[in-house]
C-alpha cells in the first residue's frame, strides 16, 4: 500500500458578518482544510486504485478533526459540509474519486452521524487552480438556506504529480438567506434529503 506523502497542509477560516444587509448576531463561519499530497498513480494507468482509499482514512480523520477545531471545537456547531479534490496534470480524474469515501466518512465520524450525502467537486488542474467546493446541510440536502460553497486553491499546488484534497465545514445558513425552501427547523432527518 502506498504511503500518503504530505507536502503541505493549509487551513482557512472565514467569518462573515454581513454582505451588505443587516449585520448577523453570530457571524457565519466557514472553514476548509486542504492537504497537498503526492499522487501515487501519477504518470501511469493503474487499474487497481481502491486500496489507496484505505490509506487516506487517517488523513481524512485528521483533516475533519482539524475542521472542528477551526470552528470552535464543538461538533454540534457544524451545520454544513462539502469536499473536493484537484488532481495534478499527470494524474486522472478518477484518482480524485478516491477521496469520496475517506473524506466523507471522516467528517461523518467526527460529527457523530450526519445523514445527508456530502456534496463534492473534483477536477484536473495545475498549480494555482481554484476549486469551488459545494456545501449543503449535514442532515438534509434540500435545506435551501445552507446551499453554499467555498473556494480553495494554492498558488503552488497541485504540481503534476500531486493531488489537492479538501474538506469544508460551515456553521450555518448564508448570511442573508431569504430564498425560501426547506428550513433547517423543519428537517425530518430520516432520509438525508428532507
Amino acid at each position: 500500500m502506498p504511503e500518503v506523502k504530505i507536502r503541505k497542509i493549509v487551513s482557512c477560516t472565514e467569518e462573515i458578518y454581513h454582505e451588505g444587509g443587516p449585520k448577523a448576531d453570530t457571524p457565519l463561519r466557514r472553514a476548509a482544510v486542504v492537504a497537498v499530497i503526492e499522487n501515487p498513480f501519477s504518470g501511469t494507468f493503474a487499474e487497481d486504485i481502491q486500496p489507496f482509499m484505505e490509506d487516506l482514512k487517517p488523513l481524512g480523520l485528521e483533516m475533519a478533526t482539524r475542521l472542528i477545531g477551526l470552528l470552535g471545537g464543538d461538533p454540534a456547531l457544524v451545520e454544513g459540509y462539502g469536499k473536493g479534490a484537484i488532481i495534478g496534470a499527470a494524474g486522472e480524474l478518477e484518482h480524485g474519486a478516491l477521496w469520496h469515501a475517506p473524506g466523507g466518512y471522516a467528517m461523518r465520524d467526527v460529527l457523530g452521524g450526519a445523514k445527508a450525502i456530502v456534496p463534492s467537486s473534483k477536477k484536473v488542474g495545475g498549480v494555482g487552480a481554484r476549486l469551488d467546493v459545494p456545501v449543503t446541510h449535514i442532515e438534509a440536502s434540500y435545506v435551501r438556506s445552507h446551499f453554499d460553497s467555498m473556494e480553495i486553491g494554492l498558488n503552488d499546488a497541485p504540481r503534476a504529480n500531486e493531488m489537492v484534497l479538501t474538506l469544508v465545514m460551515t456553521t450555518g445558513a448564508r448570511v442573508h438567506n431569504r430564498a425560501g425552501g426547506l428550513q433547517a427547523g423543519k428537517i425530518e432527518g430520516k432520509d438525508g434529503l428532507r
Binding site: 487551513s11 462573515i16 458578518y17 451588505g20 481554484r130
Partner: protein
C-alpha cells in the same frame, strides 16, 4: 470611526516537504484578512485620519488572529508583513493611510517587539484578485532566510467600495534556506536591520 467589517478570513499553511525533502518541524505561515467598507469610496477626502485609526484597530485584530491561528506565543513569531487591496471606487492613498501611520504599533504588540520595518505592498483590484503580502524578519530586516511572501485571494473581495486588509505572521523562514546572509540566530534586533 471603527471598521465596518464584512468578513474576516484566516489562512494557515504548513510545509511538510519541499522538493522531496522532509521539513521538520514544518514551516508555518498565517495570513489574516479583513474585508471592510471603504468610508471614502467614490469621493476625494483630504483628511484620511479615520482610515489611519482603522489601521490601528486592524493591526492588533489581525495580528492577534495570526498568532492564535499559528497556536504560538507572541514571542515565537519570526516574520511579518502587511498589504491592502483597494476596491475600484477607492484610491491607492486609502491603502497607504491604513498601512503606514498606525497599523504597525498594535501589530508589534501582537508579535512582541518587532524592531524591523513591516514590509508592505498595496494595489487596486477587484474580487478574486491576488494580493501578495511580503514577509520579512520582525527584528532584523537583513535576515535573508526570512525574506518570503504569502498570497491571499478571496473570490468575493474587494468589492468596489471595499478595502481588503491583510496581515501575515510566521513562526519560521523559508523551508530550505541556503542563500547565506544574516541568520536568525545571529540577528541582534536592535536597529531593526541586523
Amino acid at each position: 470611526m471603527s471598521a465596518d467589517i464584512r468578513k474576516i478570513a484566516v489562512w494557515v499553511e504548513e510545509t511538510h516537504q519541499e522538493i522531496g525533502k522532509v521539513i521538520s518541524p514544518a514551516t508555518r505561515k498565517a495570513v489574516a484578512v479583513a474585508v471592510i467598507a471603504n468610508p471614502f469610496a467614490g469621493r476625494y477626502v483630504e483628511d484620511l485620519t479615520p482610515l489611519m485609526d482603522i489601521g490601528a484597530e486592524l493591526g492588533g485584530l489581525l495580528g492577534d488572529k495570526c498568532v492564535a491561528a499559528l497556536g504560538i506565543s507572541s514571542d515565537q513569531a519570526e516574520s511579518y508583513g502587511k498589504a491592502v487591496m483597494v476596491g475600484e471606487n477607492g484610491e491607492l492613498e486609502h491603502a497607504a493611510a491604513i498601512l503606514h501611520p498606525k497599523l504597525g504599533a498594535p501589530l508589534r504588540k501582537a508579535v512582541e517587539k518587532g524592531a524591523a520595518l513591516v514590509p508592505s505592498s498595496k494595489k487596486m483590484g477587484g474580487p478574486g484578485q491576488v494580493l501578495d503580502v511580503p514577509l520579512g524578519h520582525k527584528e532584523a530586516a537583513y535576515v535573508r532566510s526570512h525574506f518570503d511572501g504569502i498570497e491571499v485571494r478571496l473570490n468575493d473581495s474587494p468589492r468596489a467600495n471595499e478595502l481588503m486588509v491583510a496581515v501575515a505572521v510566521t513562526d519560521s523562514g523559508r523551508p530550505l534556506p541556503r542563500v547565506g546572509g544574516l541568520t536568525h540566530g545571529a540577528a541582534e534586533g536592535i536597529d531593526g536591520l541586523r
